[in-house]
Structures are given as structure tokens and as C-alpha cells.
């Protein structure tokens, strides 16, 4: 699933994924504020560990991605966080692969970043209950988008993967629910204990005054 190993994808797909990830990484690192680095590090570590724990579902096995949560809390910095996590997993455990780092980072990180960006305005001054629902929605949409991207990438590489795309989509169903529940609880919790963590990005876009109030 999300960790596509070496030798599955065609070269154009690998190159395209690499270019997208490199661009996203560049943008994320340029805009990354050093005060937020510790938070990015914690979420990178969280992703690294969470996506090691997997559960067998039918003929395959799935694990958490937490991309929605990362997108909500650290925005574009989710891209380097996922990238570093994937590098570590590839080096230590052989999950995924080195050549597929670009595609995998793109598939996992980008949906979270984009959906979170879209939903961020809803989190300003949100009650914990609303934050939880928004978090769950972002997580579910991110997982679904990742599933579609994985299926698309596989199909683009080899048209005989059309059938497998169905399996991918089926196995992502339980993951979608699990991820939505976990991210929902996490966002509800954050909205209660430190709401500025969730809304920081939306406020910053609103202007300096909002950010420093």
C-alpha cells in the first residue's frame, strides 16, 4: 500500500513523484519556521513509529499514516516529516524503497497537507467537538486520497494493476475509519489543551496581529 517497494513502479512515475516531492520539500523547508522544528520532529517520530504497526486486513496489511493529523498541526512541514520517517523505515527495515521515496512521500504527505489547508479555517476558535469532527474528516479524506493516488500510481506504471487497485481501495476502508477516529480524538484533545496548535496556521494566514494575539 502506501509503502510501495522498489521495482514496482515505472521510471516516469518514479521521476514524476521525485520531482513533486522535491518541489514540496523545497517549499516546506523554505517556509519552515525554526520555532516549529521540535513539533515537526515529534510528528516525524510519531509517523515513523505509527506506520510501523500494521494490522492484517484480507490479503494485505495496513497501518496508520496520520497524514491528516500532520497536515493539521504542521502544514507543509508534514512533507519533510514524512520524508524523514520514510527514509528511516527504508534504511532500518526495508519498508518501501529508496527509489520510491519520492512517490511514497507524495502519496502520504500531500493529501494531508492539502486537505488540512482546506479545512484549517474551520478550526479557528473551534470547540473541541468541532475540532474533533474536522480532524476526522481531514484524516478520512487524506487516507482516501492517498488510496486513490497509490492506485493511480500503480495503474500508471502497469495497466495489469487495475484489479489490484480494487484491493487497495478495499483495504483502505478500515484504515480510513481507524485513522478518522484517532485523528478526531487527537484534534479534540488538542483543541482542549492547546487550541493554538491546531489553529496556528489559519491565524498566521489571517495576519500578524491574529498570530500574536
Amino acid at each position: 500500500m502506501a509503502h510501495i517497494p522498489d521495482g514496482v513502479l515505472s521510471v516516469p512515475v518514479l521521476v514524476a513523484g521525485g520531482v513533486v516531492t522535491a518541489a514540496a520539500l523545497g517549499y516546506a523547508l523554505k517556509t519552515l519556521d525554526e520555532d516549529r522544528l521540535p513539533r515537526v520532529a515529534v510528528l516525524a517520530a510519531l509517523f515513523f513509529v505509527a506506520s510501523l504497526i500494521s494490522v492484517a486486513v484480507g490479503p494485505t496489511s495496513v497501518h496508520l499514516l496520520l497524514s491528516g493529523l500532520m497536515g493539521l498541526i504542521i502544514g507543509w512541514a508534514a512533507v519533510p516529516a514524512v520524508f524523514v520517517g520514510l527514509v528511516m523505515q527504508a534504511v532500518f527495515f526495508g519498508f518501501g524503497g529508496i527509489t520510491t521515496l519520492g512517490v511514497n512521500t507524495m502519496n502520504i504527505a500531500l493529501p494531508g497537507v492539502l486537505w488540512a489547508m482546506l479545512f484549517a479555517p474551520l478550526l479557528v476558535n473551534a470547540t473541541p467537538r468541532r475540532a474533533a469532527w474536522v480532524g476526522a474528516a481531514v484524516a478520512a479524506l487524506s487516507v482516501a486520497t492517498t488510496a486513490v493516488m497509490v492506485a493511480l500510481v500503480l495503474t500508471l506504471s502497469d495497466s495489469s494493476y487495475t484489479l489490484s487497485a480494487r484491493i487497495v481501495l478495499l483495504s483502505y476502508g478500515p484504515l480510513l475509519v481507524g485513522e478518522a477516529v484517532i485523528t478526531g480524538f487527537a484534534c479534540g484533545f488538542l483543541a482542549r489543551v492547546s487550541p493554538e496548535m491546531l489553529a496556528a496556521r489559519a491565524m498566521r494566514r489571517g495576519g500578524k496581529i491574529a498570530a500574536s494575539s
Binding site: P5, P38, R39, L52, V55, S61, Y161
Partner: protein, 205 residues
């Protein structure tokens, strides 16, 4: 209030991370398809599994030769095991594909295979049945067991060992996980250090 210390703002994810690390400390499971196979006589037997989360049941298995020509194909059983006939002298690549982007390969060396499976050893002497308990003969007459049978028996015996070694090598170890987290902390620490130096230099003039 302008900025609160970062530590308090990180409380949420830190707690989550701690909980997940604890959860992982038990039977650490993982996400990677693996296949192990060995040649036993004229067949290739092996098993496919997800590292950590058990056998890969009902996934496609194919045997291909060096030139990528399809020799045999089948599916794994409910326990992830498979056995396919194979022969020849070249290396054989065993590929399992869970059809969702999980693919694993394993190469069985041609030297392990029985070179000529189709023709049964015509001149092979029929093994004399081992003397039962009633025969008081000292093991002076060793029944001539065909070399091929011995090889198959030995291959059967050592296959689980080889599979175990292979599985151990790819097992998730808690020290590796902790090491990975350490690397992540280090990388971001380094990034913070570089960024703060740059910021300090910008501020000075």
C-alpha cells in the same frame, strides 16, 4: 501573550508518541511483504508473509527464470505457504504479489535445484528397506540410498532454519525503532541548530 514555550505546545503529540511507542513495544509488527523459498528436489517450496503481521494468504506466486520467462504460477495457501514444481540449472526468481503494491522477490540459486527432474533416475538402485528390529545384523551393510534422496531430506531439514534466519534478519527490533527515533530527533536538532545559527548571523550586523 506572544509565544509560549514550545514544550507545552508539544504536549499533545508527545503524549501520543509516547503511547504509540509503548504500544509498539509489545509484539512489534510491521509492514512489508516477504517471501522465502528453497529448492526441495524438483519443487520450490516456501512461504510469503508480512513482516510482523502474519502470513500472506492467497497471494499470487510466480516462478521466473533469469530471462524473466514465466515458468510456474500459483497462489499461496491460507498459511502463506506454497510449493511449485521447478527444474533446470539457472537461478529462479520467486515473486509474490499481493496486488496492491506489495511485491517481494526471492532468488533460488540454480545449484540448489535438481537438474533433471522429468527423467526419473532409471539406473538408481531400489533402496533396500532398512533392516527392522528383528534383524540382528550390525550396520555393516548400508543400504544404498540415492544421493538425490539424501539431498532432498537434507534440504527439507534445513529449509525451516534458513527461513528462520531470513525472518530474523527482517524482524522489527525495538532497538532499531528507538534508533530510528533517535536519528529523527538528531536530524531535526541539527536543522534547528543550523537555522538558529543563520538567524543569529542575520541579526548581528
Amino acid at each position: 501573550m506572544l509565544r509560549r514555550p514550545d514544550l507545552s505546545r508539544m504536549r499533545g503529540p508527545a503524549l501520543l508518541a509516547a503511547a504509540l511507542v509503548l504500544a509498539a513495544a509489545g509484539p512489534a509488527s510491521a509492514h512489508r511483504l516477504k517471501v522465502f523459498a528453497s529448492a526441495i528436489g524438483t519443487s520450490i517450496e516456501g512461504e510469503a508473509y508480512f513482516v510482523g503481521s502474519g502470513p500472506a494468504a492467497g497471494v499470487d506466486v510466480t516462478l521466473r527464470d533469469g530471462a524473466d520467462k514465466l515458468l510456474q504460477s500459483g497462489k499461496t495457501g491460507p498459511d502463506g505457504k506454497f510449493a511449485l514444481p521447478a527444474s533446470g540449472t539457472g537461478d529462479i526468481v520467486v515473486t509474490v504479489d499481493a496486488e496492491d503494491g506489495h511485491v517481494a522477490r526471492f532468488t533460488v540459486a540454480g545449484s540448489e535445484l535438481d537438474p533433471a527432474p522429468a527423467s526419473p533416475p532409471a539406473a538408481a538402485p531400489v533402496p533396500v528397506p532398512a533392516p527392522d528390529g528383528s534383524a540382528p545384523t550390525v550396520a555393516a551393510v548400508v543400504p544404498p540410498v540415492p544421493m538425490a534422496d539424501i539431498e532432498i531430506a537434507v534440504a527439507r531439514k534445513i529449509a525451516p532454519l534458513a527461513a528462520q534466519i531470513d525472518a530474523l534478519q527482517s524482524a522489527l527490533r525495538i532497538q532499531d525503532i528507538v534508533g530510528g527515533i533517535g536519528y529523527i530527533v538528531g536530524i531535526f536538532g541539527l536543522a534547528a541548530f543550523v537555522k538558529s545559527r543563520r538567524a543569529a548571523r542575520d541579526r548581528q550586523p
